[in-house]
Symmetry: C3
Subunit: 349 residues, 3 copies
Amino acid sequence: MADPRFFARQGPFSIGELARMADAELNEGADAALMIRDVAALDAAGPDDVSFLDNPRYAETFAASRAGACVVHPRFASRAPAGMALILTPAPYMAYAHIARAFYPPPRPVPAIAPTAVVDPTVALGEGCRIDSGAVIGARAEIGAGSWIGANAVIGEAVQLGKDCVVGASASISHALIGERVMIYAGARIGQDGFGFASDRSGHTRVPQLGRVIVGDDVEIGANTTVDRGAGPDTVIGAGCMIDNLVQIGHNVQMGRGCVIVSQVGISGSTRLGDFVVIGGQTGLAGHLSIGSGVRIAAKSGVHTNVPAGTDIGGAPAVPVREWRRQLAAVARLGRQKKSEGESSPESD
Amino acid sequence: MADPRFFARQGPFSIGELARMADAELNEGADAALMIRDVAALDAAGPDDVSFLDNPRYAETFAASRAGACVVHPRFASRAPAGMALILTPAPYMAYAHIARAFYPPPRPVPAIAPTAVVDPTVALGEGCRIDSGAVIGARAEIGAGSWIGANAVIGEAVQLGKDCVVGASASISHALIGERVMIYAGARIGQDGFGFASDRSGHTRVPQLGRVIVGDDVEIGANTTVDRGAGPDTVIGAGCMIDNLVQIGHNVQMGRGCVIVSQVGISGSTRLGDFVVIGGQTGLAGHLSIGSGVRIAAKSGVHTNVPAGTDIGGAPAVPVREWRRQLAAVARLGRQKKSEGESSPESD
Amino acid sequence: MADPRFFARQGPFSIGELARMADAELNEGADAALMIRDVAALDAAGPDDVSFLDNPRYAETFAASRAGACVVHPRFASRAPAGMALILTPAPYMAYAHIARAFYPPPRPVPAIAPTAVVDPTVALGEGCRIDSGAVIGARAEIGAGSWIGANAVIGEAVQLGKDCVVGASASISHALIGERVMIYAGARIGQDGFGFASDRSGHTRVPQLGRVIVGDDVEIGANTTVDRGAGPDTVIGAGCMIDNLVQIGHNVQMGRGCVIVSQVGISGSTRLGDFVVIGGQTGLAGHLSIGSGVRIAAKSGVHTNVPAGTDIGGAPAVPVREWRRQLAAVARLGRQKKSEGESSPESD
């Protein structure tokens, strides 16, 4: 079970309630009134816990689990231990997400403004906000109802945050208009100048960066991630995007809805992503590209060209995944050749 | 136009004044007294705006632009729409930089020390500094006139900053001597211990890091970038270097003047760069290397050897760009071969 | 010598004392009472200084050094300049580490709680702690004796730190249990939510992250590094691990003892490392992997498979170093072929 020093548990809930939350069905013969007290991993769960099976590699663990109930795809139902209640759904991980959020809902801020927070008198602060110690909110900023500004976070002048946002400790935001239910993790940097300057032999002259950062609803921006404001147009992050830690988003980047950007990715200036683009960790995208909706890019790739919607690509420079796999297989063969082979017949390789 | 909630515009200026600022010429027949109120992109500009054409791919947009004036290379003059005033220069982007800075000059700090800032009584604070809420400045630090220390930034004991520096929100600086007009963005970490320790079977013993970070004039250090102090010698960043976000600079690194380091680059300890070295994003440099002046390194490269001045390199391990392109082309061909080909004749590849 | 504005020197020490600290021997004829005042690099040292020779490439510099004493492997003793006292040991860098720490011991915090620090009344604060300006320590946290919490750092509710820890400026920690003598550098982010959500066509639903971060004794976590808490199990960092700047550690990662993780590495969720694993800079590891003890991974690698203990690997995807070198050599040859060769005979490459 989760460490009660850090996590406050709700419940218990009956498996009938849980199935309803998860938009799922109980197995035949299950007792809808069975009470469940907590979530737990398959191998740690006991009779009061609900667990889940999503990754088939854990099917054996499922078959041996002592969980009182389990969220599972119907195709695994026959492998359940005797007496386990089954919450059946074709999307067990999503169902589990809803159940786990019932037991452990995101903490709601207790409204309060800490004595050492510095909130400019011109700030428009919604109802029920929590402003933690040392947070600084600049003139004319607007903070939506129910938002939580963490300790030592800095919200710049005229920044707008929608309702129910969370800004982590020591994060900073400037030149930005931010939607509702947005989570900005600790140390994220939103709205600073982009990397824009004109160069000649005498050096570099900064070009004023006159755009903003526009963030849609339900976005998450990870710890120590940086999002530069636009140079003239805005930098735009569409609703529902999930951005991991230590990501760099350059000026004028435009992301559609629901994109997933894994840790340490860098997206160069003015590149546009469609909706639901997925980018694996440590990948880099050059500037001024157009990446279509649904594109998936493997980790550690380098993308230098436009990519049509719905394509899976990988490699550096990135190519369609099928080609990339052939490249990797060919290079792997080169590595398995004996050194002498390679060197004795350079004309053949 | 720039959002007036975030940006304060100066002007208007006549195109004669703008041409003078930009060290450029007006086209024949242009009315030097024509007043311009703002900068704007080619496709958004109206008769009161000045725009610019730098990238030839936007030549069509230029030809259709409604901008009152445009900064442009003389070779494009004949494609201008009728009636557009032209500010002619062989370096339009630099000229535009100067004009845009006239309309939107970098904000000057209004001198003030916020009540919640903590400035040690032994700090030597120049005239006209602005110290924002929650900033902490340690004993014996020296802050040059006109400098601006952002909210919750931390300046360690005995650190020196020159005139007109800007330190962003929540940045921290220790063990450092910093020049004039240096911009350190939000969350940058300057002067912490380098990654130096001696190891044996029992573990790792930290070696004291006894150098400093020396930063020249007119340097920019990006958001959440880290610059470790020297181990014995200093870590040195030459005047005019532009360093993007999330870059790592190891201990004892020495950079010459005017280098450009794009986001997520890592430079390992004791490597030296000459002047005006340009390093593309996500590139890594091993330690103890010597990279000559004017070297340009492609994004995502891995550099393991010294590089002579003036060379363009790319790849991992990095080689001269011409070789690298051939490598890429050869690997791309391997990826386009049918799988059967590759597999049926392993002896030939 | 180190800049006295930043570093406080102890000593002097006799070479007899230094040899004892370093568990080393003096050369025959050396005067154990010879007093040494400082450490210095071979080329900068004078008669009052002790230096060291570790990397053989500096053997010439050693032979010409004016250092009064030098820590050196016995095999180089014969190349010492006349009159130099030698502190002989098979592990000169480790010996130097101990000597340098005698002259420049890690700064001990002067116990004090800054007036602007915010320490919740329920915090259990050990003896002799130093809490700097603007630091915020949440309810029920426990801070071990002798610990130093830097300016504007944020320690969340119920977090535990052991004795003699140092938390750098603006770092933040939540949901974590941390051992003794742990150093967390400026801007590090420990304990935030991992990147965990369930996705369907309507978008992404966050899965509660119910684990903690457990950090062993004597760990270092670099500037602006991020360590996510576990999703259910904990994220674990074993005793003595050294983690550089800008590293990403995903949820549920488990690291054994003494691992060395160089800057900008990313370790994806649920991957396990054994003891003394060494990972070069900018390398990425996929999730759910098992990396055995003593594995060494070259910089910029991409690891997608389990790796048996004691293996050296490199490349993306990573393979045993010997294979990787052959791959690199083969690709390098492709790059050196004339373009015409490659193109005229595609069937042979």
